[in-house]
C-alpha cells in the first residue's frame, strides 16, 4: 500500500482515512490480514505509536479487529469504512468548490465546468 501523508495535518487520522479507502474500494478484503504496525511505520516512514493509535481508533469503530499474537484483520462489516470515505468525498468536494470560487467561478459555472470536463 502506498501512503500519501500531508505533514501539515495530524498523521493519525490520515492513516485511518487511507486504510478506510483501501477497505471501501475492496483492495483490502474482509477477513484479510493487515500489515503489522511496524510494517506500516516503516513503509509510511511514520512513528509506530501513531500507527498503533490509528489501528486502535479503527478497531473502536468496528472497522478492523485484532487477534492477540497474530495481528490485525479487516472486519466483516465494511459499512463504517464506506461511511468514512463518503465523508471524505464530501470534504474534498467542498474543498474543490471553495478553491474554484476563489478562482472566480460561481456554483453554476463550476457544475457546468465539471459536466463538460473530460480527461
Amino acid at each position: 500500500m502506498k501512503w500519501e501523508l500531508d505533514k501539515s495535518r495530524a498523521i493519525c487520522p490520515q492513516i485511518c482515512e487511507q486504510l478506510c479507502v483501501g477497505i471501501a474500494s475492496g483492495e483490502l478484503e474482509s477477513g484479510a490480514k493487515l500489515f503489522s504496525v511496524r510494517e506500516v511505520a516503516v513503509s509510511a516512514g511514520v512513528n509506530p505509536n501513531t500507527v498503533q493509535k490509528s489501528f486502535e481508533q479503527l478497531e473502536q469503530k468496528g472497522i478492523i479487529y485484532s487477534i492477540r499474537g497474530s495481528g490485525w484483520y479487516v472486519g466483516d462489516d465494511t459499512s463504517a469504512a464506506k461511511e468514512m470515505v463518503t465523508k471524505l468525498i464530501s470534504e474534498k468536494t467542498l474543498e474543490y468548490f471553495t478553491q474554484m470560487k476563489a478562482l472566480g467561478l460561481d456554483e453554476t459555472e463550476i457544475k457546468q465546468y465539471v459536466k463538460e470536463w473530460q480527461e
Binding site: 501523508l5 505533514k7 498523521i11 509506530p48
Partner: protein
C-alpha cells in the same frame, strides 16, 4: 509508563553565559522525541548533562530515576555530535571494543547494518568518508539494547537516501520500553517519526507537545511552525 528522564529547575552556566535556564522536563518510555532548536539554543548542553559529561550549576537531572553516573551510562546509548572513535582502528576493532564496553551490545546487529550500508568492516576509520564515519557511529549506538537513545545531530552529514535508512533503522529498533531523543535542525526529515517535539531556545523550553497536537492546533507541519517561531 515509567519516567526515563526528569529535569527539575535545571540550570547550566558557562561563566556569565546561561546555557540552560531553569528547565523542567519529563520524558516517558516508548517515545521518539525531537529536541529542536536553533544553533546555540542549549540542545547539546542538555544532552551532555544527561550523559554526565557536564554537571549542573543548579537544579537536578535524573535518568531512569538516578543521577547521571556509571549506572545511568549502562542504560543510555549516546551518539555525540562529533566523532568519538579512534581513527587508526578498523571498524571490526571498534565493534570488538564496543562488545567489551557494553554488556547490551549486539555485534550481529552491527555487522548486519554495516553490510546493508556497504561499509567494509576491515577498513580503518580514517579511510572512510565523513558520511560513512557518521553511519558507523550511528550503527554502533543503535546496536545497543539501551533504555534511552540520545542522538545528537545523527543525520547532518549523510545523503538523503541514507537519511531514510537511518530513519527506518530507528523505527525498526524502537521498542516500547525505550525512548529515543533526537536533536536536530533537519526537522522536515524526521518529523513524521516523532511522537513529541521539544522546542528549545536561549536555554528555555518554549514548547513540549505531541507532534499531532502541534499540527492540529497550528494547521501546519512541525517544520513550518519551527520556521515561524524562530524567524529572524
Amino acid at each position: 509508563m515509567s519516567e526515563l528522564l526528569r529535569c527539575e529547575n535545571l540550570t547550566k552556566n558557562y561563566g556569565s553565559t546561561t546555557a540552560l535556564d531553569e528547565i523542567n522536563l519529563s520524558v516517558e518510555n516508548g517515545k521518539i522525541i525531537g529536541l529542536l532548536g536553533p544553533n546555540g539554543s542549549g540542545k547539546t548542553t542538555l544532552i551532555k548533562l544527561l550523559n554526565g559529561l557536564l554537571t549542573p550549576t543548579s537544579g537536578e537531572i535524573f535518568v531512569n530515576g538516578k543521577k547521571p553516573g556509571v549506572e545511568t551510562k549502562s542504560v543510555v546509548a549516546y551518539l555525540p555530535d562529533n566523532s568519538f572513535l579512534y581513527n587508526w582502528m578498523t571498524v571490526e576493532q571498534i565493534v570488538d571494543m564496543f562488545c567489551d564496553f557494553y554488556a547490551d551490545f549486539r555485534p550481529d546487529l552491527a555487522y548486519k547494518m554495516l553490510l546493508q550500508l556497504g561499509i567494509d568492516p576491515t577498513r580503518k576509520l580514517k579511510k572512510l568518508s565523513k558520511g560513512n564515519k557518521e553511519k558507523v557511529c550511528l550503527i554502533l549506538v543503535m546496536s545497543r539494547n539501551a533504555l534511552l537513545y540520545v542522538l545528537d545531530e545523527p543525520i547532518a552529514a549523510v545523503d538523503p537516501a541514507t537519511r531514510d535508512y537511518v530513519i527506518s533503522t530507528i523505527i525498526n529498533n524502537y521498542n516500547h520500553d525505550a525512548s529515543v531523543i533526537i536533536s536536530t535542525h533537519l526537522i522536515a526529515d524526521i518529523e513524521s517519526i516523532l511522537d513529541e517535539a521539544i522546542f528549545i531556545n536561549k536555554g528555555k523550553i518554549m514548547l513540549h507537545k505531541t507532534v499531532d497536537e502541534i499540527r492540529d492546533e497550528n494547521g501546519c507541519s512541525v517544520d513550518q511552525l519551527f520556521r515561524e517561531v524562530f524567524r529572524w
